[in-house]
């Protein structure tokens, strides 16, 4: 278990009488690109929300890099290296791309509290921001406000912000939704590169099966708060239960 980055023990969460996570147990290994899939309402988003601190679980523990973070606030988790991107592009609308990326960069470099130095003049920050903007292919639009971006570009920016926080473990919630093929290729290439470097361990929640199966080393299938499939893409593809929930149960 040394290689385990994040461990989830007996995690449960219910909203009223709707159970969205029921005694979940799994661990995520460092460097293993994992996908979480499942039909609508399977509890994928809730799971990410719980793991990243957005929603407190009813019971269970979350261990990140050997540290119990179940009760840690969001910003602490982020600083420990646990970050996420959002399903709907969740960017700073009126701010320029540079500023969008600069916010997490400043947080990482612990410069966010400084109130008299100019952000624009900080060479280190500039370099880091430019590097990330370049990586997601938006460097040329550095001064454009995020709200003026196309949908796909905004998703790229979204992932860029998440990356800028220098996470060890990064949850990407539908990173390619609404992207055109070029953008999609770029983002996938990025994920592959970073994953191969071992800098970031990715966990992806996706509906696009092409993405899931071309990227992942491991796939976890959730259904109604339970894990109903877990393994390599091939294993999951062959799992009859998984096929069942995806195409609908036999109803005749």
């Amino acid at each position: 278990m040394n290689n385990s980055l994040l461990q989830v023990r007996d995690l449960s969460k219910a909203f009223g009488n709707v159970v969205t996570a029921k005694n979940l147990n799994f661990s995520l290994a460092r460097g293993v690109l994992t996908s979480i899939i499942g039909p609508n309402g399977a509890g994928k988003s809730t799971l990410i929300n719980i793991l990243t601190g957005f929603i407190p679980p009813d019971s269970g523990e979350i261990i990140f890099q050997g540290k119990d973070i179940t009760r840690e606030p969001i910003d602490r988790r982020v600083r420990l290296g646990l970050c996420r991107s959002f399903q709907v592009a969740n960017v700073f609308g009126h701010l320029s791309l540079f500023e969008n990326i600069a916010i997490p960069v400043l947080a990482v470099e612990r410069k966010a509290k400084s109130f008299l130095r100019s952000v624009a003049k900080d060479g280190e920050v500039r370099k880091e921001v430019d590097k990330i903007l370049d990586r997601v292919g938006l460097l040329s639009q550095s001064h454009v406000p995020a709200s003026a971006l196309s949908h796909g570009d905004r998703r790229l920016l979204e992932v860029g912000i998440a990356l800028a926080a220098r996470p060890r473990l990064l949850f990407l919630d539908e990173p390619t939704a609404g992207m055109n093929p070029v953008e999609r290729t770029r983002i996938l290439q990025n994920i592959r590169d970073l994953s191969a470097h071992g800098e970031v361990t990715f966990v992806i929640v996706e509906h696009d099966m092409d993405v899931v199966f071309s990227l992942s080393e491991r796939v976890i299938v959730l259904y109604r708060g339970h894990v109903i499939g877990d393994g390599t893409p091939e294993q999951v593809k062959g799992n009859p239960q998984v096929r069942e929930v995806y195409l609908g149960e036999e109803v005749t």
């Binding site: 592009a89 949908h151 539908e174 195409l247 109803v251």
Partner: protein, 232 residues
Amino acid sequence: MLEVEKINTYYDTSHVLQNVSLKVAAGQSVALLGRNGAGKTTTLRSIMGLTPAKTGSINFEGKQIRGMQPYEIAKSGVSYMPDDLRVFVDLTCEENLEIARRVCKRSGHWTREKVEELFPVLADRRKQKGLSFSGGEKKMLSLGRALMMNPSLVLLDEPSEGLAPLVVRKLIETIGEIRRRGLTLLLADQNLKFCRQVCEYGYILEKGTVVHEGSMEAIWANDEVVKRYLAV
């Protein structure tokens, strides 16, 4: 009955629907298929006028309804069951049903008694507020509310989602019952098998455009399409 032609819909600047066209004939039941985020919900919302389409035309019973207010569209005979159901939590079950009939002022087959006949559980919970309903009950209530408007076209978003197999089977029967009353259906669902049971024709959406259309049987038989756009 319903002719959607090349509509384009945006959320802010993101171009969600791109030249979506589809047709629903009177009495027909049509499925919108596709994975999450493909644009199914947006298509239904555009027809309902909730997220108005910027360009294109939506023709309903010979009338252009694109650009009309949602309440006008509702009064002209389109009703809508959203995927998140959205029953009025502050109203009792009975009020939820009756309000639709009263506001819409369309007469027809559906009365509260008929709806309660269709979903007996609603009769049991007549005086309870919508807040206390379980997911399945809310679904029936939301569907019942849509019927109470006595529409000629019903838009159903994810009717089978989150329902146990037994309930899905019941739902198929119910939809059959509804259709016998002469209603036209346009439903968006991910569950191919379910759609096959209740619809004749299907459109597959992917990234905001229609990528495939055909009779449900043809879609069902087309393994490649299913694999590519719908399955794991």
